[in-house]
Amino acid sequence: MPETIHVPALARVEGEGGLYIGVKDGSVTEIRVDIYEPPRFFEGFLRGRFLQDVPDITARICGICPVAYQMSAVRALENALGASVTRQVRELRNLFYCGEWIESHVLHIFMLQGPDLTGHESALSLAAVAPEVVKTALRMKKIGNQVLKVIGGRSVHPVNACAGGFYSWPDAAELRALIPELEWGLHEAIKAASWAKGLPFPELEVDYEFVAMHRKDEYAILDGEILSSQQGILPEADFEKHYLEKHVQRSNALHSYTTEGNPYLVGPLARLNLNHEYLGGQAARALKESGLKLPLRNPYKSLLARAIETVEVFERAIRLIDEYAPTGPSAAELTLKAGSGAAGSEAPRGLLYHRYNLDANGLVEQAKIVPPTAQNLGRMEADLWQLAPQLLALPHEEATLTAEHLLRAYDPCISCATHFLTLTVYDA
């Protein structure tokens, strides 16, 4: 039976986070997931800024999912102005997003959660015994990076997206040059999905409310309506009526709940369970061949959903590049007016909601950003409560690892963390 579990700094999550499980007299008395959450700062920082500054600022909330923060932002701003974009702009945004999903999902599958499932302490120790696996992962990730670079001008914090579209069309030849690597990546993604199903996932079945963006014509990433397994379809503009944020005294971060006060789940499991029938041909085949029975309710198995989704985005990226033939202006002309607009999109970690209130000059009066990790915080803690009896039966180290692994499976993006080195300087 373990004593109190305290992990002050979670490893293999993007940023800073901690975990505390209090145990007294053989019972779990307290569970706390501490996650540093920067969007509150950014909401203040955005006030008074011109609308076209917003995507470049929100991109900086997260080093790993800047495109998500840009896409929810530009779509919310366009909704505030009543503007619409061309099909070409939509498809290029879709491709842009595929690049980010490739990077983020591959990183998570192989480098963040993968080590938990293959008995390795880190990707570094995995690299020591299976260098080809890690090299393959890095090569796959790099393809996503290249897609971002060609479209966004640079791979970290891309700068080309704006409300209305893009500042310029990326070069078609540069995009087409990526196709051989994308095809190789698709092949590897299919192999990875097959490999992943054999991994030793811990047992846990949770009765979730799944929430994700939803479309009838494709596996929703960029846009759509909101679909809840409990509440059905909701317009994205009604998100705040159904999902509320509240301060929890023991945490710095806001926690999200349904109006009934229940935590809900966003992310790969929610998306795959709600939208699997809209997967493209190769991803649908990978799902079928995996033999997975949906709905998946084991949070550890979100890696499997990510693996299927990785096939989806490689396949989609190839199709979108094949079809890419830009004509006309790369951005719609916008007419400024006062108003409020909201939008959701699927960040790699789940639904990312933005709302902006603009004044007549296009300045932000109010910004609201609800990131996926914040929405899942309540769920992470509830899952840990459900897991508690299993944890109590384990030796302390194993219990700690199992709890940490659960949080890593969520791929929490504890954004905007500093990355400085803690350095020991040696005297010569």
């Binding site: 700094a9 990183l107 880190s122 080195l421 803690t422």
Partner: protein, 177 residues
């Protein structure tokens, strides 16, 4: 693909106080030494949170200077010049580190692509004070920028030479107060 002779890369988050030190030193150096900074055989990058993408930058270069904020307990604004080996003592255990920092990324790169990484890597590190979101560069780091930019210039001049510069440069490594 021919390699760039020398990569200079500033790392940091410019919304988090002294975490931006690496970016600011590179910008200062570009402003004060435009001729060197404009050398076509040099690639200069400013990159917040590159994580594992740092490897993609590095594999294109024969030599590299990483400019970053650090916390070592020294006086804020202290400029350290470190060699690759100085980073070996930490960062090999990703459990004790947040995400993918410079040290872990270099360790992974060496495990996988030792032959592709630059043979000569130096870290120009500026001791950071406050790192709160929304804060400005501290007065101490601000005051250290000219000396750090000058140090960067010296390192650039040394490293853009072929291997011959090695010996003199080794002697220069250490802490510049």
């Amino acid at each position: 693909m021919p390699k760039t002779k020398l990569l200079v890369i500033g790392l940091g988050q410019d919304l988090r106080g002294d975490d931006a030190a690496g970016l600011e030193v590179v910008k200062r150096w570009q402003a004060e030494y435009p001729e060197t900074a404009g050398d076509p055989e040099l690639v200069v990058e400013l990159s917040p949170l590159p994580g594992l993408s740092l490897l993609s930058f590095l594999e294109c270069a024969e030599a590299a200077i990483l400019v970053d904020a650090v916390q070592s307990g020294a006086r804020v604004g202290t400029v350290h010049v470190l060699q690759r080996e100085d980073l070996a003592a930490f960062g090999t255990d990703a459990r004790s580190a947040h995400g993918w920092g410079v040290a872990e990324t270099l360790a992974l790169g060496e495990e996988l692509y030792a032959d592709k990484l630059p043979k000569r890597i130096r870290l120009l590190a500026i001791e950071a004070g406050g790192l709160e979101l929304g804060s400005q560069l501290s007065v101490e780091v601000q005051a250290a920028l000219p000396a750090a930019a000058q140090k960067l210039q010296e390192l650039v001049l040394l490293l853009r030479q072929p291997e011959a510069g090695n010996e003199a440069e080794t002697q220069q490594a250490g802490v510049l107060n």
